[in-house]
Every structure is written in structure tokens, then in C-alpha cells.
């Protein structure tokens, strides 16, 4: 009987670990991926809610979320502007130091070729795609003063991972 109880305990712990592991894998409903095709898609909404005065993507801002993508995967991003009062865009940039953050940026400065969406009016949607190259990036709103006001999130491309994930920096969430 003790042997059975021990086995049960070990199996229980093992199963719990898997459950916990799966629970720790955050896959929001605005993200989907296909491992075989090596593609990941994100549906972003600018000004999804009032976080950061509406200067957010899906409620995230100032780098408090990181989209983690395997190297050489195709990344598809669609952006809908949910802001009724301001245009927004999105540009894949290299990270900026505080002192170097531009107050305005246009798409030709994207870190990867054509990885940007031009300013969208209320309820407009557009998309971009690029092949992910290893490195650290931001998804940054280039509209005047939007990025400086925190309208950016992180995107990291890593070798040696086999699927995308996200990481939330809960310390920065208000």
C-alpha cells in the first residue's frame, strides 16, 4: 500500500508540474502560431483600453509585455486602431535608450525591412509581416510623442526555441 501511495504521489506531482508548466504558457487569444509552418500571428489593437491614457497595444505599454519569437519564423502582425481620437501606427524598431527615444518616427527607420504599419485612423486595420532575425526589438508607435509616452512593447527573437511565447512584466502593469 505505501508503494501505491508513493507512486500516486509521484504521478500526482509529475502531472501537477505539467499542468503548472502549461498554465505558465500564456497564449492570449490575440496570438496564434503554427509550428510546422513556423508562423506566428498577433492581432493587436491600439488603444484597446484606457491603460496609459489609451497609448497601448492590447492594453500593454512601456515594454510591459514581450512577444518572444523563434528565429527565422514568419511574423504576421495586424493592427486595428481602437482609438476614436488619435491616429496610431506601429514600427519594429531597435530598443531605444531613454535619452535617445525619438519623439516621432516613420516606417523607413524600421529595424527590419518594411516592418511597419503607417498611421491608421479610428477603426482602420492594416498588417505587416517579416522574417524574424535574432535580436531584441520594440514595437513602437511612431506618431508624434506616442512612443515617448510609453506606446511600445517588446519583441524578442531567439535562436534555440521551438515556439513563440509571451512574457508579462507584471511590475509595470497599472
Amino acid at each position: 500500500m505505501p508503494h501505491f501511495k508513493l507512486t500516486t504521489l509521484i504521478c500526482g506531482l509529475f502531472l501537477t508540474h505539467i499542468s503548472l508548466a502549461k498554465a505558465n504558457e500564456l497564449i492570449p487569444d490575440w496570438m496564434s502560431y503554427d509550428i510546422e509552418k513556423k508562423q506566428v500571428s498577433y492581432q493587436l489593437i491600439a488603444a484597446k483600453n484606457a491603460n496609459n491614457n489609451g497609448y497601448n497595444y492590447n492594453g500593454y505599454y512601456q515594454g510591459n509585455i514581450t512577444l518572444i519569437v523563434p528565429s527565422e519564423w514568419l511574423v504576421n502582425i495586424s493592427l486595428n486602431n481602437g482609438d476614436a481620437n488619435a491616429v496610431h501606427d506601429i514600427i519594429l524598431t531597435e530598443p531605444f535608450a531613454d535619452d535617445d527615444m525619438p519623439d516621432e518616427l516613420t516606417g523607413e527607420f524600421a529595424a527590419l525591412k518594411r516592418a511597419y504599419i503607417s498611421p491608421l485612423y479610428a477603426n482602420e486595420t492594416d498588417s505587416l509581416k517579416f522574417i524574424a532575425k535574432q535580436g531584441a526589438y520594440w514595437l513602437f508607435c511612431g506618431v508624434k510623442v506616442h512612443g515617448i509616452n510609453g506606446m511600445w512593447i517588446k519583441l524578442t527573437v531567439q535562436d534555440n526555441i521551438h515556439k513563440p511565447s509571451i512574457k508579462i512584466n507584471s511590475a509595470l502593469i497599472n
Partner: protein
């Protein structure tokens, strides 16, 4: 008899040939945007043709109304360039480019225009400076800093010159500034007086109240419930927690002021309090945000104030500049009035001397859940949206019929509130204005009787309208759309009589001038950031060649 006929012909020729200038943002200091010339009229406007165009080469929001004096047109552009052009030919005479410092501003890099007096042309800049140039050469004469642009102060309006002073408000309520209106010495740029739109604590107001708390009005215009929790606001004040809120209380005055030359009284409209949506951080009426005020232009002393939206939590600025004209009072007598059209969608007619509201018009746009309290989560759906109604677009009046014309927006929005602290130089809305999926946007030009408040006609547009109107004695009403159409309507009926495709959003108020006996109609076509209208940078001038 022959001598009489000859004299008449000569007199008529002189009268017709006399130049008609446009020397201030709104035409003249009263800002009525009315051209008393019927040479272009409902009969011949279909012959209106482009005479010349000038490509500024500057792409941004183009919201300028040119001014014309002594045959020279002065045009300001996005990012604070100014051009002097030969008004008859469009030939460039000179150009000045202001060297911008730190710029933090709302709603696009625009400039409404310049002011001119004597040998000086004056502009205000995105980095909150006032700049005076020699009108003949474009050389710098003086420049001064109005306020610290790093704190979110900016200028997008046109200065106004009256006698020996330059008058200018300030923008930046979205960044938690404390608004003001200033008067500067025209010759030197020295500050003469400054009136703060947000009073200090204890400062006695014209109605005897103190500071910015006001009288805790529960209704707009004594009619519409604002759904305030006055007890909670008073408790918040008593707690002392918001004693310093006035220092970042907002109250921009970001459109040109209006001046009564006869009385020397300055009239101004004042924008939203800060933060825009979160009233919990600023209990009280938040005087004099969302108001029209009258000041002594010589001293800056406040004479009266009328607050359209006490404790505004919807960003419903009073932005469109006041118009001075005449209209009937309650007894049917024609009296001097001050007129304003708000983001609320109403036209307000005030006794110019006392500020008393004589009447409020029918709403020019749809109202829904009016003054619903913004909520967390999805937010509260309300019409009008935060852009209006009438945004900054100046109106035009026909003084013959006491009719006023305004461009309106219809933009469904959710108002979501979120309390966040003020940070220097950072956006501070206290929430967000969100799209209502599936709901269309649109616009209109409305003709409203100042004597009755009735809407006489409306011209509907597919897209929201920001820009302005121009009224003429030829029974014409000019305006423009974001889709590039500059058009003329019959001002009595709203029937479209003419249009021209300008190739970029026509989001500026048109103007007119007469030189060599010929009436010219001009407009800037360059789009707008607020409603993302297609960008360009062109000034166009039209005439009728008989």
C-alpha cells in the same frame, strides 16, 4: 445729367476697386468671416476657376487661414514656416522657418495663421514662442518664449493684434498645463499682462466665488443634468487631497481671441480641464475651463465668464472662436452678441455686454446618453464624441439674415476613465476615447438662425468636418471636406453650387480678398492629423473670370 452719370460711374468704379483685405485670422477682429462683396454669387459661382496655387512643400496638418494686407498674402504652415506671397500671382516674396526647440503638442503640428500690424508680422510656434518678423523682408525682429514647452505648453493658434498689443492664448491641457491668455507689447515682445484661465485658490471671481471651484452647477445651461456627485466633490475638496490640482488644471485657450474694437473687450473660448476624463482628481466646476470669457483687452481684467460645461469630463472644449455680430434678444430687439458653437453641438448666443445666454440652438449633431459618466472597462457610449459637434472650426455669419454657419463632426465614441497621476510633459487624459465598432462617422455644415436658434438647413458630408466656413454677400457659403473637395453652397438653401477637388484634405477655414477690383477666394488644402485627412501643403486661390 451727364455729369451725374459720369460721377456715379467713377464713384462705383472706385468703390468696387477698393481693396478688401483680410488682416486677421477671422477676417477682422470680430471674426465674422463674412465677405461683403457679391461679385461672386449664386449665378456665376459655377465659373469659379483656380487662378493660382502655391505649394508650400510642408506636409503636416494644414489649418491655416491666410491673411492679406497691401497686396501680400501671409501663410503659415505646419512646423512653423511662414511664407509671404504676392496675393495676385502667388509669387513667393520671402520665407521664414522658425527653428523649433522641444515640441510637445496635441492634434498635429499645425498653425492657424499670422497677425500683421505696421511693419510686423507675428506668429506663434509649436515650441510656445512668439515671433515677430519684418513684413517686407521676413527678417527676425524679436522672439520671446511664452512658456516652457518641455512641460507640454505649445502654440497652434494665430496671434491677434489690437492697437499696440499682441494677444495669444496657450495650448497643452492634454499635458496638464495651467492655461492662460497673454498680451505682449507689439514693438518689443514684452509681456504686458497675463490672465490665467484657471484661478488660484482664494482668487475672487466675477460672481463672488473663489478659486476654480465655482458654484457646483448641476446642469449645463441650467437645462441638462451633468450627473455630478456634488457631495462627493465637496468632500474631496474638504479632504485637502486636491488642493494643488489647479496648478495642472488645463483650460487651454488655443484658438485666436476675438476683440470688439469699439469697446476694447476681448472674448475668448477656453478648452477642457485636465485630466480630460478623470474628474475625480479635480473636484468642483473647474472654472474657467469649457467657457467663454470677456476680458478688458488693455488690462486683462475679467469682465464676465460663462461656463458651458462645469466639471467637464468629456473633453467638450469650448474651442471655436467667438464671433461678434448682432442678433435678436428675447424681446426681439437687435443687440450686440457674442456667438460660440461648441463640441456639444449647440450654438450659443450671448449678450455681448453681460455674457447672459440669450438662447441655445437646436443641436447640430446627434445627442445620445448626453453627459453619461465615463466608466472603466468598455466605457460609456455618448454622443457627441470628444471632437464634437464643432471642434476648433471657426464659424461664419451672414449679418444680413443673422445666420451663422458651422462645420460639424459626428464621431461615436466610448469614454473610458482611468485615474493616473500627472507627470511633467506627459500625456494626461485620465482615460481614453475608444472606437465604437460598426458605427459610422460623418459630418455636416449647419446653418442656424441666431434670432431663433433653429437649424435652417444642413449639408451632410460623408466624413467628419474640421476646417471652417466663409460667408459672402453673394449668398455663398464656402467650406471644405477631408476628401479634398472645396465647395460653395447657396447660403440660403444649402444647395451645392460648385466644388473643386484640391487633392488633399481641405481642413482649414477659407478666406477672401479683393484686389484690382476682383474678388479672390482662397483656402489651404493640406489635411489634418485629428481626423487623418490626406496630407498636402497647397494654398489655392480662385476667381471668376467673366
Amino acid at each position: 445729367m451727364k455729369k451725374y452719370l459720369l460721377f456715379s460711374l467713377i464713384y462705383c468704379h472706385i468703390a468696387v476697386a477698393e481693396p478688401l483685405e483680410w488682416t486677421s485670422y477671422g477676417g477682422q477682429l470680430a471674426q465674422n468671416r463674412y465677405i461683403d462683396d457679391a461679385s461672386i454669387n449664386t449665378t456665376n459661382v459655377k465659373k469659379l476657376k483656380l487662378k493660382w496655387m502655391f505649394q508650400t512643400g510642408i506636409v503636416g496638418s494644414f489649418e491655416n487661414t491666410p491673411i492679406v494686407k497691401d497686396g501680400v498674402m501671409y501663410v503659415t504652415t505646419a512646423y512653423n514656416h511662414i511664407y509671404a506671397l504676392d496675393a495676385l500671382t502667388g509669387k513667393r516674396l520671402w520665407r521664414y522657418k522658425h527653428k523649433l526647440g522641444t515640441t510637445i503638442y496635441c492634434c498635429g503640428p499645425n498653425s492657424k495663421g499670422a497677425a500683421i500690424s505696421g511693419n510686423l508680422v507675428v506668429i506663434a510656434t509649436l515650441d510656445a514662442m512668439l515671433v515677430a518678423l519684418d513684413k517686407t523682408t521676413g527678417k527676425l525682429v524679436w522672439e520671446i518664449s511664452i512658456a516652457n514647452s518641455e512641460e507640454g505648453y505649445s502654440e497652434t493658434g494665430a496671434p491677434i493684434i489690437f492697437q499696440d498689443k499682441v494677444f495669444i492664448g496657450i495650448a497643452g491641457a492634454e499635458y496638464g498645463i495651467r492655461g492662460f491668455i497673454s498680451a505682449y507689447d507689439l514693438k518689443t515682445g514684452e509681456l504686458v499682462w497675463r490672465w490665467y484661465t484657471i484661478p488660484e485658490p482664494g482668487e475672487v471671481q466675477v460672481d463672488g466665488t473663489k478659486g476654480w471651484f465655482g458654484s457646483f452647477a448641476e446642469k449645463a445651461d441650467g437645462i441638462n443634468d451633468l450627473h455630478r456627485n456634488i457631495a462627493a466633490e465637496k468632500a474631496a475638496i474638504a479632504s485637502g487631497e486636491f488642493d494643488d490640482a489647479w496648478q495642472h488644471g488645463g483650460g487651454s485657450s488655443w484658438m485666436p481671441v476675438t476683440i470688439d474694437k469699439q469697446t476694447g473687450i476681448l472674448y475668448a473660448t477656453i478648452g477642457n480641464p485636465a485630466p480630460d476624463l478623470d474628474g475625480s482628481q479635480r473636484p468642483g466646476d473647474n472654472r474657467w475651463s469649457a467657457s467663454m470669457v470677456a476680458l478688458n483687452a488693455q488690462t486683462g481684467t475679467m469682465l464676465w465668464g460663462y461656463q458651458y460645461i462645469p466639471h467637464d469630463i468629456w473633453d467638450l472644449d469650448a474651442a471655436s472662436p467667438p464671433i461678434l455680430t448682432e442678433a435678436h434678444n428675447e424681446q426681439g430687439q437687435s443687440i450686440p452678441v457674442a456667438v460660440h458653437a461648441g463640441k456639444t453641438g449647440w450654438v450659443y448666443v450671448h449678450d455681448r455686454q453681460t455674457g447672459k445666454l440669450i438662447r441655445r440652438s437646436e443641436p447640430m449633431v446627434e445627442h445620445k446618453n448626453l453627459f453619461a459618466i465615463p466608466t472603466k472597462g468598455q466605457g460609456a457610449e455618448m454622443l457627441p464624441g470628444a471632437n464634437g459637434g464643432v471642434n476648433w472650426s471657426p464659424g461664419a455669419v451672414d449679418p444680413r439674415s443673422h445666420t451663422v454657419y458651422y462645420a460639424n463632426l459626428h464621431q461615436p465614441m466610448y469614454y473610458e476613465v482611468r485615474s493616473v497621476p500627472w507627470r511633467k510633459g506627459r500625456l494626461w487624459l485620465g482615460g481614453a476615447f475608444k472606437v465604437v465598432p460598426g458605427k459610422e462617422q460623418s459630418g455636416n455644415v449647419s446653418a442656424v438662425s441666431l434670432d431663433t436658434g433653429k437649424i435652417l438647413w444642413q449639408y451632410k458630408t460623408e466624413q467628419p468636418m474640421i476646417g471652417g466656413t466663409l460667408s459672402t454677400a453673394g449668398d455663398l457659403l464656402f467650406s471644405g471636406e477631408s476628401n479634398g473637395y472645396f465647395f460653395a453652397l447657396n447660403s440660403k438653401t444649402g444647395e451645392k453650387l460648385w466644388q473643386f477637388q484640391a487633392g488633399a484634405g481641405v481642413n482649414a477655414a477659407p478666406m477672401g480678398f479683393r484686389l484690382n477690383g476682383q474678388l479672390h477666394i482662397a483656402v489651404a488644402a493640406g489635411g489634418n492629423a485629428q481626423i487623418n485627412a490626406p496630407r498636402g501643403g497647397t494654398v489655392m486661390v480662385f476667381v471668376v473670370e467673366e
